[in-house]
């Protein structure tokens, strides 16, 4: 049953740091201005696969203004084994960036070139050059099996087999690139950094530099988006080494080219999927063979692609056979998930093909096979705490007017000659369900307010604002009486976890709920004496603590906090048993919970079959929030997710020349993001679906990653418009014309 909330979900509440942002005062790491700050540029490899035989930095050191150089010989995050063009081999700290850039050119590196391969299909062929990431192979397998696929396929009336991919390879292009300022005082390291994981990064620095964590003082305040790229912050280690050598503060603020080459990327996927269905549309088996091009660093990402068979579609017999494939390209990482948005692009195309073969609309076929909220998880057997996927499909269909607009593929031509099409999709995922243990601190001030210390960074989501909502609601204080004291400060806050997996509102939020309950309990002890009733008989709401059932017997928070024995500090952590405060059908859902995040989308497109240009006519993006804690933050995530989906569907692609491994477009001009001229905001709708999660605090669940899930809906709509499948992303005019046989 939904909670009756006073603070949570209120659209009038603003982000707690909005004024700092609007006035330009929020401190991003490069905004720290210690005297005599030095600036950094990186030397990078021009070869896709090589071993460095020698490096001479004397020319760089001799340049006036250069104060320190570090190379793979003394920087723990660099290596003499080169696996891609653009890998860092040295870095220079100088009095300004122009001198640092000039000095980079004076570093003399001798390479022993080795055979390389950049195309993932070639990398899997027998006799292909070894990429060098793994000792004796370019591939690594991953499997998941449920039921018996052969039996399921035998039961089917229709079996469809299709291949889709590769999906696109691109860089996160966070508007704030990798950025840190480091300096040393004795053997203490001070770091201001952009980060998604302040405590994780402290541990990385401590490990790399061999100093205890309590001598790494790390602050991450402003973070100019992370999107998965800022969990690992090797540049800060380089900055720390340079700062130690120079004996001065060093800033690393990556150039756009460095960001494109040295930071992580979304990895391409392709799959061959076999689906068996009964003539009534019931899926009997899904058999998938999946490939993930995990580039030079070889994170074993293909496992994440099994989302395709796990969370959304009811199917007793399913098999996922995955292979991660390494290639000599700039490394991969997380992009608002490990894998699920592009893996859904692939799955959705095959589902629509199956629907057409069965004679159902894509919406009918999905509604027939989607897992209902009350169904248990197919693999673990545990109940799910909520599942809004069916509701999202219905909301999207209604918002876009699906019933009146869906037509046979290629059947509608607009007055201007363009082809018009519509599509819908939705999926669930595992986001929000897992997190390493995290902590939270709530301080009560003696004038009856609260100050929270949130150990997470400030990525776009406004998550520490969500924590303030949870604390205000739990304490029974007004929203404006709870402030965010500090965040992302490893000296002051409790480890709030890494901003990944869409877990910070649900998991760290649960810790804040517990911390607020701890603080409330302490204050209630004082209030009980003041009000003459047992503490167990007290409630708090809207700034007052009062006797349950007798609200006229009350004290304000200010009156009580002034009388507490010392300042109250509330402490919380996740997951304590008592915070699993609701159960599903009497079943203890355990920890971590089976939480289903999810996103759904629908769009209409117009395709110019002469130019290959695809225009988005309207777009609906929904996210299953469970419950929106910070309402405006949630809406912005979903609106922003919509814009990012359009970027992924039509724009984002990093081009690598496979003949020598060089990235051709490491900048914003050639790797374009849509701007205000490319988007027709009036036709976009972002809609929150609240499925009231039984596990998360106040019913919330993870949302960051599900908001960008649905961009494959553009491929589906293009098929509905033209009757032609585009089996790659993004849909550029070139790909469109090729598919139409006109290129």
């Amino acid at each position: 049953m939904p909670f009756d909330t006073k603070v949570i979900g209120n659209p009038a509440n603003h982000d707690k740091q909005i004024l700092d942002i609007l006035t330009g005062r929020l401190d991003f790491s490069a905004d720290i201005l210690p005297g005599k700050k030095l600036f950094t540029r990186f030397a990078t490899s021009p070869y896709a696969h090589a071993k460095i035989t020698s490096i001479d930095v004397n020319g760089a050191l001799a340049l006036d203004g250069v104060e320190a150089v570090t190379t793979y010989e003394d920087c723990p995050v660099m290596s003499d084994t080169i696996l891609y063009v653009g890998q860092e081999v040295a870095a220079v700290a100088a009095v300004d960036e122009a001198i640092a850039a000039q000095a980079v050119l004076l570093i003399d590196v001798t390479y022993d070139e080795l055979p390389f391969v950049c195309d993932p299909d070639e990398a899997m062929e027998p006799g292909a050059p070894l990429v060098g990431t793994w000792p004796d192979s370019n591939t690594m397998p991953w499997e998941l099996l449920r039921g018996d696929v052969e039996v399921g396929l035998a039961e089917a009336d229709i079996v469809v087999e299709e291949s889709v991919g590769w999906t696109s390879y691109f860089q996160h292009q966070n508007i704030e690139p990798g950025s840190s300022v480091c300096y040393w005082t004795g053997d203490h390291l001070y770091v201001w950094t952009t980060s998604q994981s302040p405590f994780g990064q402290r541990a990385q620095l401590s490990g790399a530099l061999g100093i205890p964590q309590n001598r790494v003082h790390l602050i991450s305040h402003g973070t100019g988006t992370g999107n998965g790229d800022k969990h690992f912050c090797e540049w800060a280690t380089t900055g720390a080494v340079l700062a130690q050598k120079a004996g001065k503060p060093v800033q690393v603020h990556m150039s756009r080219a460095e960001q494109n080459l040295m930071r992580t990327h979304q990895f391409p996927q392709k799959a061959t999927i076999k689906i068996g269905v009964k003539s009534d549309g019931t899926i009997t088996a899904i058999d998938t063979v999946w490939y993930a091009d995990v580039c030079a660093n070889g994170m074993h990402m293909v496992g994440g692609c099994n989302d395709s068979i796990r969370y959304t579609w009811r199917c007793p017999n399913a098999r996922f056979t995955g292979f991660s494939v390494v290639t000599n390209k700039p490394r991969v990482g997380y992009w608002r998930c490990v894998a699920h948005p592009p893996c859904n692009v692939i799955m959705d195309e095959v589902l629509d093909i199956v629907a057409e073969r069965v004679g159902m609309t894509p919406l009918e076929f999905r509604l027939k096979n989607v897992i209902d909220p009350e169904e248990p998880d197919q693999d673990s057997g545990k109940p799910t705490a909520s599942n809004g996927i069916k509701e999202m499909l219905e909301v999207c269909a209604s918002a876009i007017g699906y019933a009146g607009k869906y037509h046979a593929p290629g059947a509608e031509t607009m007055a201007d000659g363009r082809k018009r099409g519509i599509a819908i999709r939705a999926s669930a995922d595992g986001h929000g369900s897992m997190s390493s243990p995290v902590g939270a601190i709530v301080n009560l001030t003696r004038d009856g307010k609260a100050l929270i210390l949130s150990g997470i960074s400030r990525a776009a989501a406004g998550t520490n604002t969500a924590h303030a909502h949870i604390v205000a609601e739990t304490l029974g204080m007004n929203y404006e009486d709870v402030n965010v004291g500090d965040w992302g400060n490893t000296d002051v806050c409790s480890d709030g976890g890494s901003q990944g997996g869409s877990t910070r509102t649900i998991t760290t939020g649960a810790a804040f709920q517990m911390a607020a309950e701890d603080a409330r309990e302490q204050a209630f002890t004082t209030a009980a004496d003041m009000l003459g009733v047992p503490a167990t008989n007290l409630e708090a709401s809207e700034g007052k603590i009062f006797e349950a059932g007798n609200p006229s017997n009350f004290k304000t928070w200010a009156e009580v906090s002034a009388k507490t024995y010392g300042q109250v500090v509330g402490r919380g952590y996740t997951w304590p048993k008592e915070l699993r405060h609701r159960s599903v059908a009497g079943f203890d859902i355990g920890s971590p919970c089976e939480v289903r995040g999810g996103g759904g989308g629908a769009c209409e497109v117009a395709v110019d079959t002469e130019t290959g240009e695809v225009e988005i006519l309207s777009y609906v993006n929904t996210t299953d929030f469970g419950k929106a804690i910070f309402y405006q933050g949630g809406m912005m995530q979903t609106e922003g997710g919509l814009e990012m989906q359009i970027a992924q569907a039509l724009y984002l692609e990093m081009l690598v020349d496979n003949s020598y491994g060089a990235t051709l477009n490491p900048n914003f001009l050639d790797q374009k993001w849509p701007t205000t001229l490319d988007m027709d905001h009036g036709t976009y709708q972002a809609i929150l679906v609240e499925s009231d999660d039984a596990c998360g605090p106040y019913g919330c669940k993870g949302v960051g990653e599900p908001t960008i899930t649905s961009y494959g809906v553009v491929n589906l709509a293009v098929y509905n418009a033209t009757g032609v499948w585009i089996k790659e992303t993004p849909i550029t005019p070139k790909r469109m014309l090729e598919a139409l046989g006109k290129a």
Partner: protein, 238 residues
């Protein structure tokens, strides 16, 4: 749009960075004349008063570009220069920048960009650097009222112009109407691109108070917002 007041308790907080900047910044020049906004507060009402005063800021050494000698004041350098290098007409690299109605005399290298000097020499770090190559718009400032990518203009080129940065459009207590509109519409996410969008919008709205949607989109099209807040920003300004 009316210039609205915001609650003092929210606006009056001093950010950590501001504290650090005050504690550690060395400005590479002297502010020789300035207009300062003073805030006086009573009963939660915020009022502003404009006065003209002379401000002395922390000054780094002035270096003679010919012989490298260092001086504490500009006057000492000028005196030395006139005496020691009478053949030179002007002191190379010495420029005056007018930023947010203050004049700064400072020594710059010929290849220093305006963005670099604003941030690193004048401490005006509200102007962000996203690409340093004129393709993302985060470093946008106003130069004689026009929206300019400050990463694409050399500091020396900006001499003689009126420069306005995000720090110059409000005192942090009373928001500029554009900031207020963004506040009312919650048109921020990570906040890194925000000052650039605000300055581009100001360049347009100063010339045309009620632009069409197309004019506004055109004016903001040189910017990139990865978080995807452009819908809210456009709606806030229409």
């Amino acid at each position: 749009m009316d210039k609205k007041k915001i609650p003092k308790k929210e606006a009056g907080e001093i950010s950590r960075r501001e504290f650090l900047r005050d504690a550690g910044l060395v400005v590479g020049g002297a502010a020789i004349c300035s207009t300062v906004l003073l805030a006086a507060c009573e009963e939660g009402e915020v009022t502003t008063e404009t006065v003209t005063t002379t401000v002395t800021e922390t000054v780094s050494k002035f270096v003679c570009p010919i012989d490298g000698m260092e001086f504490d004041t500009l006057a000492e350098l000028q005196a030395h220069f006139a005496a020691a290098h009478p053949e030179e007409k002007v002191i190379p690299g010495l420029i005056t920048l007018t930023v947010n109605e203050r004049n700064y005399v400072l020594q710059v290298k010929p290849n220093w960009t305006l963005a670099f000097v604003l941030r690193e020499k004048l401490g005006l770090v509200g102007t962000k650097i996203g690409c340093d190559r004129g393709s993302c718009g985060t470093c946008t400032v106003l130069v004689d009222g026009r929206a300019i990518y400050s990463c694409m203009m050399l500091a020396a080129e900006a001499e003689g112009t009126e420069i306005t940065t995000v720090e110059g459009i409000s005192d942090g207590i009373t928001l500029h109407p554009i900031q207020q509109a963004f506040y009312d519409n919650d048109a921020i996410q990570c906040g890194f691109c925000t000052p650039g969008y605000i300055m581009a919008a100001k360049a347009l709205l100063d010339k045309k108070a009620s632009p069409t949607s197309d004019e506004l989109r055109e004016a903001l099209s040189g910017h990139i917002c990865i978080c995807g807040t452009t819908k809210r920003m456009v709606e806030a300004l229409l």
